[in-house]
Symmetry: C2
Subunit: 215 residues, 2 copies
């Protein structure tokens, strides 16, 4: 993997999207693509695309364009998708169950090893053949099984305490679905999915859409 210094968060956020489009192009049997063609497809300007990909050393050749397959694999490697991640889900409610089922279809690198829950009625159940365990035992489990990622599907009130426990036990990253901003030590990565914020943005745009005709 190339050295990844000083890459802005905005660029990182765009990489999965580039990868998604490249995956589709591969499926369609496309071999190479110019930054102009890619621009038409993905909606970023060609110069934005070149600038983004230059962050990683640039994979294109003047007058030839990008190799779809090459770029797909490079971006996958940059994102770390050539590795495997062990994950636990905390909270076996509706959202937790949906996430377990959802990640099940990644096939590859992201494996849910266990689900943790405080509600005794749910402990012992199996979701997609993954056991729902007692939250009491989470630290021990995460340590012993060298879990990489903790997925937080708890209530707002419990989320920070759960995060603290997961960080203490040694996870490298948190994927947070609770509607609250979680604090982590600097060495633990965090990615928040604030569903409610997203819905509220949509509400704004619905009301503004007539006025501004913007998306």
């Amino acid at each position: 993997m190339k050295k990844q210094a000083k890459i802005s968060n905005a660029v990182i956020k765009r990489l999965p999207r580039y990868r998604r489009y490249l995956k589709e192009l591969r499926k369609k049997g496309v071999d190479k693509i110019s930054s102009n063609e890619f621009s038409t497809l993905i909606g970023y300007t060609a110069s934005q695309i070149r600038q983004d990909l230059n962050n990683f050393g640039g994979f294109g050749q003047q007058g030839y364009g990008y190799s779809v397959d090459g770029l797909y694999h490079e971006i996958s490697a940059i994102l770390g998708l050539d590795k495997q991640y062990k994950m636990v889900v905390v909270g076996a409610g509706n959202l937790g169950q949906a996430i377990v089922n959802h990640t099940y279809y990644y096939k590859s690198g992201f494996i849910v090893s266990a689900i943790f829950e405080v509600n005794p009625k749910l402990i012992g159940l199996r979701i997609n053949d993954i056991e729902v365990m007692d939250y009491e035992n989470i630290v021990e489990y995460v340590e012993e099984n060298e879990i990489d990622i903790g997925i937080i599907c708890t209530t707002m009130d419990a989320a920070q305490e759960v995060a603290d426990k997961l960080c203490f036990a040694g996870v490298k990253g948190l994927w947070n679905f609770a509607p609250v901003d979680i604090e982590t030590p600097g060495h633990v990565a965090i990615e928040n999915v604030h569903l409610t914020d997203s819905l509220y943005s949509l509400a704004y745009h619905i009301n503004g859409a007539q006025e501004h005709n913007k998306k």
Copy 2:
């Protein structure tokens, strides 16, 4: 509601977050807050906060700060949360079911009226007492019931066709959970929740965290 011209998407994206913090402050009985105090809490700079809120005419008073309750209600109104939205979910799989259950807890303005599905085994079931209906009838239903928002929880391959149908039937906005970028006519708002993109960003940061110590 105040005139909302030329407000950047970045500001709009921050509004639900402001609102979330203000809601917490209200719960704790806090009456007013200065931009400096708000900055410590929310993590944006005080000048950023003043600039953001100035977009809407500014609600603060020099030397007094912002009224927590006043600002909370103003932002709610700007987002359009003083209105009610009728929604349909398309796709009654795990994610669709989780979204139905999730939105159930908004109590207020966002009501799921029906769920649509192509799988005959699921049609006729009830999720949270909401009927799963035949996708065949979606256009008629959306038109007759003046549905505002369509929530897309289908596969990637079906998503654009579902979106087209919903737009044709007259929804004002789409909340898309399918892992694909959907195109809508300019008058229909769209908000994408790309869960996989979010997980891949997290993977990047986990790998980069040791090097950069950034979140």
